[in-house]
């Protein structure tokens, strides 16, 4: 019965229209062919040796370190910020929420410039950091972490805030009636219940930080071993050693695919 109905339905819908299928296939090819090209062109024979060469290893290590530190920074600041946006009784919450997403749409280079003028040695905040603590952030590894965190934090905040708004606030009330302070209720009741959202946000945030280029090169410059992360190394290597650029790109590609796989169930499959 059902299969007949099914067949009938398919006949009724008719063939897929060419005007849609052709651009669709082209679009798919446009997205996939460059990635395939990267894999085809990769120097597989020398890949292991290149992968473990000093410069690649250094860039990879620096990238992983900075992206992880940036993610930690985003978690420490971003989760409370998400809580404030979702649960806090602050005036102008809508405006705050919009402001938080600005770095999401802002060209990262602009973010880098902004950071430079605020945290630079003569910047709004930077001059005091320099004068009082002798700390200068631009063109340092710490600068890389800041630039990445600036760009990646909105991903975490949006993800965690969404999870918080979906969570039932009455559980926090139940915790309060049991004598838990708001902090304890957040830590022991709310946080565990929104953990999937926090994990998804963390992974997205980390992936975004790992791929960060514009803000990093603007604010932290390009000093091998200190601020040259993978994306910067790819860009540099392209001029001197294209094969190295490909190896670095393949590594980043694999990391991205890994992230996609990790988030597949939550984000990619969509509503079914």
């Amino acid at each position: 019965m059902t299969s007949i109905a099914h067949r009938k339905r398919r006949r009724a819908t008719g063939r897929l229209p060419v005007v849609l299928v052709l651009p669709a296939v082209l679009g798919l090819a446009f997205l996939l062919v460059p990635l395939v090209g990267l894999l085809v062109r990769a120097p597989w024979g020398t890949l292991p040796s290149r992968l473990f060469s000093a410069s690649v290893g250094e860039a990879l290590r620096l990238s992983l370190l900075c992206a992880s530190l940036a993610t930690v920074l985003c978690l420490v600041l971003g989760v409370p910020l998400a809580w404030l946006l979702a649960r806090g009784d602050v005036p102008g919450r809508g405006v705050l929420r919009a402001l938080v997403t600005v770095p999401l749409v802002l060209p990262p280079v602009v973010g880098g410039v902004a950071l430079l003028f605020v945290l630079g040695r003569r910047g709004l905040v930077g001059q005091y950091l320099d004068a009082w603590f002798g700390v200068s952030l631009p063109f340092t590894t710490a600068g890389v972490v800041l630039a990445e965190a600036f760009v990646a934090m909105p991903f975490l905040v949006i993800s965690v805030e969404g999870a918080l708004r979906a969570a039932d606030p009455r559980y926090e009330e139940a915790a309060a009636t049991l004598g838990a302070s708001r902090w304890l209720a957040f830590r022991r009741v709310t946080l565990p219940s929104i953990l999937p959202g926090v994990v998804a946000g963390t992974v997205l945030c980390w992936a975004r930080a790992l791929g960060e280029f514009g803000a990093t090169i603007t604010f932290a410059g390009n000093f091998p071993g200190e601020t040259t992360t993978m994306p910067l190394a790819v860009y540099l290597a392209l001029e001197t050693d294209p094969d190295a650029a490909i190896v670095l790109s393949v590594v980043l590609l694999l990391v991205s695919v890994g992230v996609l796989a990790a988030l597949r169930d939550r984000w990619i499959s969509g509503p079914s």
């Binding site: 559980y171 139940a174 009636t177 049991l178 302070s181 565990p192």
Partner: protein
């Protein structure tokens, strides 16, 4: 220590203005239709909603007295059983029960030991490690009760504690809840829209309508002298305590009933006034409960006439206006009241 609450909350067009007094060891049921302000009253007592006027005092401790004093929920000695329990899904039953003690700074090992004792008291010792989603509705309710009582609160608040249960479980859990409430020395406030829950569990009923107390008193008083149509419709149940032996129940106040389903031990006997028929002579025929009564009062309600009858036991009967005329009902008239055994329900108490 008596709990005095003069609850005044104004929110938009809704206004709650209700006075509640609960003595230690007393169970007070707040009964009312949806939107009457029951939940608002409970949330105000719990400290989840500040009053806009009035006060809440336990003995000489002030919990809320706007605009000067407000003690938030986490600093009130309360326990709350929520309608859908709100058990923490990521914690085991034991950890749920231990939560309040841990929040109050009791060391982990002591808290867990105490929680285990409470789970044992509600008969769930075997489920200590179970996550809430694996528990049945009745079990979850008992965990919620244990969690609320584990901190030995001064005030126990129950929000529709049986509403989420199916009829069969409800019967059992209600009796068990009644036992725990009798053992509990603190103040209990129960919010419900189910008259049976209120009458079986509570020492005193407070009926709330449109944010105001329209009537209060013992279940029997309220049932026998309802002041509004809502109370008459809902609370006007014939309710007796007695001891069952098989299908026969000897009432504490005298009289005996035959019930359809056999039971043993102390029970509540309940039937609606509509189940009572009145006859000029002793009715014959199918097995019935029939006894001599005299008319004590007649009240006209929306669609029926309610007759208060004295006898052993006294009883309420709802009859049609035609019957009133047929029987020439007037105060002092002698009649026979009859109720079918199948209409009489006995609940373990």
């Amino acid at each position: 220590m008596t709990l005095h609450a003069d609850l005044r909350v104004a929110r938009g067009v809704f206004r709650l203005d209700a006075e509640l007094v609960v003595e230690p060891g007393e169970v007070v049921a707040v009964l009312g239709p949806n939107g009457a302000g029951k939940s608002t009253a409970l949330r105000a007592l719990a400290g989840l909603l500040p009053l806009t006027g009035g006060h809440i005092r336990l003995g000489d401790e002030v919990w809320d007295a706007p605009p000067d004093a407000f003690r938030p929920a986490e600093r009130r000695p309360i326990g709350v059983v929520f309608q859908d329990y709100l058990l923490f899904a990521h914690l085991s039953a034991l950890e749920n029960v231990a939560f309040g003690l841990r929040a109050r700074g009791v060391p982990r090992a002591v808290a867990r030991e105490e929680a285990a004792r409470w789970l044992d008291r509600v008969g769930l010792a075997a489920h200590a490690r179970a996550k809430p989603r694996t528990l049945s509705g009745g079990q979850a309710q008992r965990v919620a009760l244990a969690r609320a009582l584990a901190t030995e609160p001064e005030l126990l608040l129950l929000d529709e504690p049986l509403a989420a249960l199916d009829a069969a479980t409800r019967l059992h859990v209600r009796a068990e809840l009644g036992r725990h409430l009798r053992d509990y020395p603190g103040h209990t406030l129960l919010v419900t829209h189910d008259p049976l829950d209120a009458m079986v569990l509570a020492d005193r009923l407070v009926v709330l309508e449109h944010g105001e107390v329209v009537q209060q008193g013992t279940p029997t008083e309220v049932a026998r002298r309802p002041r509004t149509d809502y109370v008459a419709d809902l609370v006007g149940l014939n309710l007796y305590r007695g001891t069952a032996r098989g299908t026969s129940v000897a009432l504490d106040g005298g009289g005996e009933f035959t019930v359809a389903a056999p039971a043993t031990g102390p029970v509540h006997v309940v039937f609606p006034p509509t189940a009572v028929s009145l006859h000029p002579d002793r009715p014959t025929g199918s097995p019935r409960n029939a006894w001599r009564v005299t008319v004590a009062g007649i009240e006209q309600h929306a669609h029926t006439t309610r007759v208060r009858l004295d006898g052993v036991p006294p009883v309420l009967a709802d009859i049609t206006t035609a019957t009133v005329a047929d029987l020439r009902l007037q105060p002092g008239a002698g009649l026979w009241a009859a109720v079918k055994a199948t209409e009489v329900h006995a609940y373990p108490s």
